[in-house]
Structures are given as structure tokens and as C-alpha cells.
């Protein structure tokens, strides 16, 4: 297959996969800058697993809700509980996240044992990251979430930055850091939930970490970091899907591998620049 043919096939036959992974790439790479800056990368991994747990639960007759609703509900409840637990002093932050991470995977495996066989295959396909069969309904849901979440982050860009950089001083000026922090996590949780349902946990977690870290290595200003991260998040799915078609690779790992390659180049560039 010629490169132009591959691109044509992607645009005409898998538009929802292509454009869906681009908007997930942009949104998660943007949120990822904050996640990395707040040193809560593990939270990204936890929320993707919790989202998959919520999704898996909806395959059981007992919790027969729409998949997206199940995923969103469980993720948002976890976010609200975590926003309380993470500020406590009795158990370290990492340990709290570790407990939720391990438990959500264990419960998901138990639930899958009780789900009908055909639906287990659907969950497993999601976990492998087969994004080529994204449905129009899921795509438009994700596009709606993208608009709402991104618009909120951009409208309150300066407030989020202030509260993350210096919550104590922000509090003396009348800001309520706990409220802003909860809003941040609710938005991130909703975005991660929709995105995980659409493209799988590997791709979402990859986008939350790899583009922001690359951007921090190649750029030395805050606006540049957000812009570079979003650009990497937008381009990596296109290149990754192209390579997946060309070499017959699974799509999600191919996209994450492209993002990792960008990270490796960024690291080399930053080392050379320092010397």
C-alpha cells in the first residue's frame, strides 16, 4: 500500500478513529501538562483503570447502564473521594493511589469473570487499544466532552495556573484552592473517562505523560509547553495510525511508540542544548 493510499483509507474509511484519536491526543496532552506539573502522574494511571472498571461493570446485567455513563460515574465518584483522601496526612498520596489502582484492576478482573463471553471480548479489545472501530456516537460524545472540558480549562487558565503554582498565596486573595483543585480533577476525570472508553487506557495514559514531558524538555516557557504538548498530541495519532497500517501493527501501541520517539528526540535535543 502506498503512503497516499493509507492516508486516504484513514480519512475516508476510519474518520472517527483518526479524528477521535486526534482530539483525545490534544485534550489529554493538555491536561497532562498539569498532571505532570502537579506530580500526580500516577493519578492518570489510576483514573484510566477506574474508568475501565466502570465500563466493565456496565456489561453485567446488575449494572446495565449505558457504558459511557458507567465509566463516567465510577470515575467521577473516585475523583471526588480521592480529592478528600489525597489531602489527608495519615496515608501518603502514592499509597492511596496505589490502593485504588490495584483494587480497581482486581475488581475489573472479577467482574469480567461474571460478564457474558461476547462482551468480555469487547472489553479486552478496548484494553488492547483497537481504536479503528470507534462509533460515530462515541466520537460525537468525545467531541462534546472535548469542547466543554477544553473551554473550561482555557477560560480559567490563569486561575488554574495560580492555584497549582502557589495555593497558599492564592488562598489569601480569596481563591479557594480546594474548590479549584476539585474542579480540575472532575474535568480531568470526565475527559479521561470518555477518552478511555473511546481509545483505551494505554493511549490515554500515554498521552497524559509522554507529550507533556517532551514539551518540557524542548520548551522553556509555560505557553510553549502547553502548545508543544498539544501539537505532539495532535500529530502522534496521525503518524502512529499511518505506521500501524503500513507495518500492520496494533494502532494504540503504534501511536504511543511515536509519542515515545518524540520524547527520545526531545531528550537528546535537550542534552545537546545544555552542552
Amino acid at each position: 500500500m502506498q503512503p497516499t493510499e493509507i492516508l486516504g483509507t484513514l480519512v475516508h474509511e476510519f474518520p472517527y478513529a483518526l479524528f477521535g484519536s486526534i482530539i483525545v491526543g490534544i485534550l489529554c496532552s493538555f491536561i497532562g501538562v498539569y498532571i505532570v506539573a502537579k506530580r500526580v502522574v500516577f493519578l492518570g494511571a489510576v483514573l484510566t483503570q477506574v474508568s475501565v472498571l466502570g465500563l466493565t461493570a456496565t456489561f453485567l446485567p446488575l449494572f446495565a447502564l449505558p457504558h459511557t455513563l458507567g465509566s463516567l460515574g465510577v470515575t467521577l465518584v473516585t475523583v471526588l473521594v480521592l480529592s478528600r483522601l489525597l489531602t489527608g496526612r495519615k496515608v501518603p498520596r502514592d499509597a492511596v493511589l496505589g490502593v485504588v489502582f490495584a483494587s480497581s484492576i482486581a475488581v475489573r478482573i472479577l467482574l469480567m469473570q461474571k460478564a457474558p463471553k461476547v462482551e468480555v471480548a469487547e472489553v479486552e479489545s478496548l484494553l488492547r487499544g483497537d481504536i479503528l472501530f470507534v462509533t460515530p456516537g462515541l466520537f460525537f460524545l468525545m467531541a462534546g466532552a472535548f469542547v466543554v472540558v477544553m473551554a473550561t480549562y482555557l477560560l480559567f487558565f490563569k486561575e488554574f495556573n495560580y492555584v497549582i503554582f502557589d495555593p497558599d498565596t492564592a488562598a489569601t486573595q480569596g481563591y479557594r484552592p480546594a474548590v479549584w483543585e476539585t474542579l480540575f480533577y472532575v474535568l480531568a476525570g470526565a475527559a479521561i473517562s470518555f477518552a478511555t472508553h473511546m481509545v483505551g487506557d494505554l493511549l490515554v495514559f500515554g498521552f497524559l505523560v509522554l507529550p507533556p514531558v517532551s514539551a518540557m524538555l524542548i520548551t522553556r516557557n509555560v505557553t510553549g509547553i502547553f502548545t508543544s504538548s498539544v501539537l505532539i498530541g495532535a500529530v502522534a495519532p496521525v503518524v502512529g495510525l499511518f505506521l500501524a497500517f503500513y507495518f500492520d501493527f496494533p494502532s494504540s501501541p503504534a501511536i504511543v511508540a511515536v509519542a515515545f520517539l518524540v520524547l527520545a528526540i526531545s531528550w537528546v535535543q535537550s542534552v545537546v542544548r545544555i552542552r
Binding site: 501538562v33 505532570v36 506539573a37 502537579k38 506530580r39 477560560l155 480559567f156 490563569k158 486561575e159 495556573n161 495560580y162 497549582i164 503554582f165 502557589d166 497558599d168 498565596t169 492564592a170 488562598a171 489569601t172 486573595q173 480569596g174 481563591y175 518540557m216 522553556r220 516557557n221 509555560v222 509547553i225
Partner: protein
């Protein structure tokens, strides 16, 4: 008689079930340069939080500003160590944060805000650093930038938490000189928290010494005595005058001669 600017009236302060400071009473007048000193963990920052309104007294009262009047605008200078240094905000961006409350939600900084930022940067002599990443600056430069940010909010009172902590001697003296000149030129109320006794001994007009079972307010000469400090730190401490400056030394006064 002018009403007090800040008044603690038999206030007990703490977090959750823990009482950190018990039954303290003192006032700070508008335009005063006031110090809060004591060992680490003595409750200085807790008193500061009560002044800033971050915590409410568990009993007694803390009154800030005129009764029924608008809330007092504080320019807060936090400890540099608690700031998050992952994202490389420029000096200009950090100082602009001091304007965010005035700018309001959603709105972007305007020309007036940029002019105020420039004026504040010049005031603390860091205008040449405006495009540098804040995290790359020295301790003294960072402190000046944080003071500029506090000034950018056009505060009625400047509140500084351990402003000279971890600094070398020249930077420390330079920051104390800057704070002193800000107080002198505008009669702004300044409240400085520190565990460095020499800093307050030679700069503030009045101070409070805080420890769990010890709370005393007065001028440096009244409060910073060898007897008081020896009781406070539970080691012999001497207070001497050297070349016109007050110096706090470990050991009793006879041992220093």
C-alpha cells in the same frame, strides 16, 4: 484613640482537634512593622494564617480591619520552598499573579495591569529579570520577585513568612533593607514571621515571641532578653550590642566577653 488594625482577643488556634496556640491577646496597629518570632513549630505560621483568614480561632476572637468594613487586602509573601517549580513561569508571569484578583475571573490582564507589574518590578529592582524563568533565579532574587507580586495587589499590609530563610548574608541584609524601606516610604503595615532572631532584633519596632507555653509582646529591647530567650530555647542565650546592632548569641553573656 485609633482602633487597632489587627486584634487577637484571648484567641486559641489550631487544626482539627490539635490546639497549637492557646489564649493569646495582642494588637497590631496600622502602619506598624511587627515581627512574629519563635522556634520552628511554635505556632508562628498558625497565627499568620489566622491573620490572613485561612483559619478561624477555636475560641476567642481575631479581628482584622475595621468592623463592618471591606476585607483587608494583604500582600502575602510565602516561603519560597513551598512553591511549585515544575513549570517555568517567567518573573513577569509570577508578578502578574498578584493582579489576578483585581483582573477577575475569565478576563485577561490589560494595559493597566502590565504598567503596575512594571512599576512593582522596578520598585524592588528586578525589572531586568522580567523575562527570566522564576525557578532559575537565586534565593534573594526570588524573594524580591515575590515581594513585587505582593505589591502588585496594592495591599494595605505586607505579610512575609520567613523571607530570609536559607539566604546568604548579603542577600539576607539586602532583603531586610528592602522590606524596611517599603515600610518607611509608604507607612505600610508589615508583619514578618521568622525564626531568625537577629532579623527582627534590628528591624521591627514591636514583636511577639511565640512558643507553646510562652507568649510575650513588646519592643525588641523588652522581649529579646537573655532570660526570655534562654527560657524559650532551653539553652543559655545572650543578647549583646555589637557596633550598634543587637546580636543574639548562644551561651551566657559572661562567656562572650
Amino acid at each position: 484613640m485609633e482602633p487597632s488594625f489587627i486584634e487577637f482577643d484571648h484567641a486559641s488556634l489550631g487544626y482539627g482537634r490539635k490546639v497549637v496556640v492557646r489564649d493569646i491577646s495582642f494588637v497590631i496597629q496600622r502602619g506598624e512593622y511587627f515581627g512574629l518570632v519563635g522556634p520552628n513549630g511554635s505556632g508562628k505560621t498558625t497565627i499568620l494564617r489566622a491573620i490572613l483568614g485561612s483559619i478561624r480561632p477555636r475560641s476567642g476572637q481575631v479581628r482584622v480591619g475595621p468592623t463592618g468594613g471591606p476585607p483587608v487586602r494583604f500582600g502575602y509573601v510565602p516561603q519560597r520552598e513551598i512553591l511549585d517549580y515544575v513549570l517555568p513561569y517567567t518573573v513577569q508571569q509570577v508578578v502578574m499573579m498578584g493582579r489576578y484578583r483585581q483582573i477577575g475571573l475569565i478576563r485577561r490582564p490589560g494595559k493597566v495591569d502590565r504598567e503596575i507589574i512594571q512599576e512593582c518590578l522596578e520598585h524592588v529592582a528586578v525589572q531586568d529579570l522580567r523575562d527570566r524563568p522564576f525557578k532559575d533565579l537565586s534565593g534573594g532574587q526570588k524573594q524580591r520577585v515575590l515581594i513585587a507580586r505582593a505589591l502588585a495587589s496594592r495591599p494595605e499590609a505586607l505579610v512575609l513568612d520567613e523571607p530570609t530563610n536559607g539566604m546568604d548574608l548579603p542577600s539576607r541584609l539586602s532583603i531586610l533593607e528592602l522590606i524596611g524601606s517599603l515600610h518607611a516610604e509608604s507607612s505600610m503595615t508589615v508583619i514578618m514571621v521568622t525564626h531568625l532572631l537577629d532579623d527582627v532584633a534590628n528591624h521591627v519596632k514591636r514583636l511577639a515571641v511565640v512558643e507553646r507555653n510562652f507568649f510575650q509582646v513588646g519592643s525588641p529591647e523588652e522581649v529579646l532578653t537573655g532570660a526570655n530567650l534562654s527560657a524559650l530555647y532551653q539553652i543559655p542565650v545572650a543578647v549583646e550590642r555589637v557596633r550598634g546592632r543587637t546580636v543574639v548569641l548562644p551561651g551566657d553573656s559572661h562567656a562572650t566577653h
